[in-house]
């Protein structure tokens, strides 16, 4: 990639100024766009062409306010610009992007960026919104005062980008031939830069003070200390209702498809072991997880919408009051939010927390967030045991799912409070985020984001579930399955741990499924599918039908309770080991989560039994 003819530009700017949007629009790329600070922790690369056909390699960097690099994500951006990233040469020029409405607050960041000494152009994005907010910018005056080219644009519109590309054409050519003007350095005393920036805006920017922007009007309700929490709660509630009420037809379709595939495979393949491997092992195992794709898509459709609209930062503000109360760092919100997708990026993004004790607290509770891998387990058990009936206008299944997530969050807060009083004492600070103005999500960015999330789920099915299903099929078939599961290797292995799990209501099949589920939680579902599929003569009997006839309700509830807490993901503990650089913390996390899971499952099983469920 070190071809000298390739122009290399980096996109720099504050969080939420529209960098990723521009990146997606120019490159047709895959960077996720989110209206929440700190989403692009890694940088992304993509290619596009200037009107002349000149190839450009574009870097999309995490949002930064200045050039001090307080946290990990900020340092990534700064290292990329300075050429300090391993295997990456420094960019030839910088595109500094700024939300035009924020020119008064952020202009000193441009002066800071001039200090990198690279050719730089300022792109003022969302000029239309700035105009609506009563801000008028004198572009020639701004160019004169800053001493660098200034381009106005609306990144999400093709017409807005055309002008940008025309400007970049000339500038890019100059950068490529080394004839672009290098900015004059500005010195590094932040206070002086701010003073200079303020004097520039006085000359080049006029702002008519509006009594109230429409974001402010919405925030009167959304950020209200009590009403705001009610709204947040309501949104999450609707989200879980939708996951259940909207997903039915799509799931039926996938289930029918998998059934047809199994019948087709059974018809084509010769009778015997091969058929069993393909039908009971591979298709049953992978299919059991893939069937939840519609629910995953609906879930992320909501989450991405909340991010892109600007609501997620408000949610952070509302929840922060509670987080501060239990002693969590304000920056813990991003890692904990990412942990709802997967604890691994969550644990890694805890790097943005500078205070070591606060970082450890966050890492310890991250596995309690309901990660995507838990959903197949929850969906299976809820679908099999909770009636589709409604409680008032609400789906009973949605209520249970909401409850499971809530229990995870409540215990995370309780554990954080305990850790802060014992292991990781000290006052926590550090929220300091900008609340972006509300925006209508860009359709293209939204679709790209949703597609990415869906593909992550599907590719896990190929990488993890498929091999795991083959292994569990082998174990559940040999040496002999004549006497049922008990005679197989899987039965023997399961038999060893089953006595430990029997007191909390688990049966042999569950015990067997929990072992491969150490690789990933959803493997519990694919393993159960394979185990029951081998045992059953009726090849395409639905897994949920099978377990609902063979498990008692207390067992099913105990299984759910187990998965709220269970430390069933070795990769999580591997990443905790890596991030804390010691065995102490991963072992401690594993231990406390195991105890919680065991006790929760036991209490659930015995109280459900006592209530005669």
């Amino acid at each position: 990639m070190s071809g000298t003819s390739n122009l290399r530009l980096a996109l720099l700017g504050a969080p939420n100024c529209g960098k990723s949007s521009l990146f997606n629009a120019l490159t047709g790329g895959k960077a996720k766009v989110a209206n929440y600070p700190g989403v692009t922790v890694e940088y992304r690369k993509g290619d596009f062409e200037l009107p002349s056909g000149q190839a450009v390699e574009l870097l999309d960097l995490p949002g930064v306010y200045g050039n001090c690099g307080h946290s990990m994500d900020e340092r990534v951006a700064i290292d990329a610009v300075r050429g300090n990233l391993e295997g990456e040469r420094a960019p030839d020029g910088l595109i500094f992007m700024m939300d035009a409405s924020h020119i008064n607050t952020h202009l000193h960041n441009v002066l800071q960026a001039k200090n990198y000494g690279l050719p730089i152009v300022l792109v003022l994005n969302m000029m239309d919104m700035a105009a609506r907010d009563g801000i008028t910018i004198d572009l020639p005056a701004l160019e004169r005062e800053l001493g660098i080219p200034v381009i106005s644009c609306v990144a999400v519109r093709a017409s807005g980008r055309a002008m940008l590309l025309d400007h970049l054409e000339d500038w890019g050519g100059d950068v490529l031939f080394g004839s672009a003007a290098k900015p004059e350095l500005e010195g590094d005393v932040l206070k002086d830069l701010q003073a200079k920036a303020r004097s520039i805006t006085r000359n080049a920017v006029t702002r008519v003070e509006r009594t109230e922007t429409y974001s402010q009007r919405i925030d009167k309700f959304v950020l209200h200390p009590i009403l705001g929490l009610v709204i947040l709660f309501g949104i999450l509630f609707v989200m879980f209702q939708a996951v259940y009420t909207w997903s039915g037809p799509a799931m039926d379709l996938i289930e029918t498809g998998i059934g047809l595939l199994q019948q087709g495979a059974a018809a084509i393949l010769p009778e015997g072991l091969i058929t069993s491997l393909v039908v009971d092992g591979m298709i049953a195992g992978v299919g059991a997880v893939l069937v939840f794709l519609p629910q995953i898509i609906i879930l992320f459709a909501f989450i991405l919408l909340l991010e892109a609209s600007g609501y997620m930062a408000r949610a952070a503000f509302l929840v922060d009051s509670l987080m501060a109360k239990v002693g969590l760092n304000g920056r813990a919100f991003i890692p904990l939010l990412s942990s709802f997708a997967c604890a691994i990026p969550g644990v890694m993004s805890a790097r943005t927390i500078e205070n070591e004790r606060d970082r450890l607290t966050t890492i310890m509770i991250a596995p309690l967030m309901t990660c995507a891998a838990r959903w197949p387990v929850y969906f299976l058990i809820i679908g099999a045991f909770i009636p589709q009936a409604k409680v008032g206008p609400f789906s009973q299944q949605g209520l249970v799912a909401f409850g499971l997530v809530l229990i995870g969050v409540i215990f995370a807060l309780i554990m954080a409070a305990i850790f802060k009083r014992t292991l990781t004492r000290g006052e926590a600070s550090g929220l300091l985020i900008e609340l972006p103005s509300y925006k209508t999500p860009v359709f293209k960015d939204y679709v790209v984001g949703l597609y990415d999330r869906g593909m992550i789920f599907v590719s896990r099915a190929g990488r993890i579930i498929l091999p795991a299903s083959v292994i569990i099929w082998v174990l559940a078939t040999f040496p002999t399955k004549l006497n049922g599961i008990g005679g197989t290797w899987a039965g023997k292995i399961g038999g060893v741990i089953e006595p430990v799990l029997r007191p909390i209501g688990f049966n042999l099949e569950i015990a067997i499924s929990l072992i491969p589920a150490m690789a990933a939680r959803e493997v519990a579902v694919s393993s159960l599918a394979t185990i029951y599929s081998i045992a059953e003569e009726d090849a395409d009997a639905k897994l949920s039908t099978l377990i609902s006839s063979q498990w008692s309700l207390p067992t099913a509830l105990a299984f759910l309770a187990w998965f709220i807490f269970a430390p069933q993901c070795l990769s999580t503990f591997a990443i905790i080991k890596k991030e804390t650089n010691s065995w102490k913390w991963p072992l401690f996390a594993f231990g406390y989560l195991f105890v919680l899971a065991y006790v929760a499952a036991g209490v659930t099983f015995h109280s459900a039994t006592a209530f005669g469920l």
Binding site: Y65, G66, C68, H70, S101, H102, N104, T105, H106, H108, N109, D133, I135, L190, K191, Q194, A195, R198, R207, S215, Q216, D219, L223, H224, P225, I226, L229, A313, A316, F317, L318, D320, S321, L322, A324, K325, G330, E427, S429, G430, L431, L432, I433, E434, L435, S437
Partner: protein
């Protein structure tokens, strides 16, 4: 510049506008962060919203932007009540 009356951002009431006159931790790491996100001497700042517990965190209006900040960090921002509007 010495603060005339020792007022902090956390002392302001909801919708009460004030002028930033300095930072208590002069040019430390917290001050750098506050400056980078946009707090500067001479700027107008107005608390708009408070969190449920102990009025923490708070969200303030600053030069047309809205910033969420915890009490502990907001204490570092020194302000002067701004009765007649910005002097400049």
């Amino acid at each position: 510049m010495e603060p005339i009356e020792n007022l902090r951002l956390t002392d302001l009431k909801k919708n009460e506008s004030a002028l930033i006159i300095g930072f208590s931790a002069e040019e430390g790491d917290l001050t750098t962060r506050l400056r980078e996100i946009g707090f500067a001497e001479g700027d107008n700042v107005t608390p708009l919203h408070f969190g449920l517990f102990g009025r923490n965190p708070m969200s303030v209006r600053l030069n047309g932007a809205q910033i969420a900040i915890r009490k502990q960090d907001a204490k570092a921002v020194l302000v002067r009540r701004d009765e007649i509007g910005a002097a400049e």
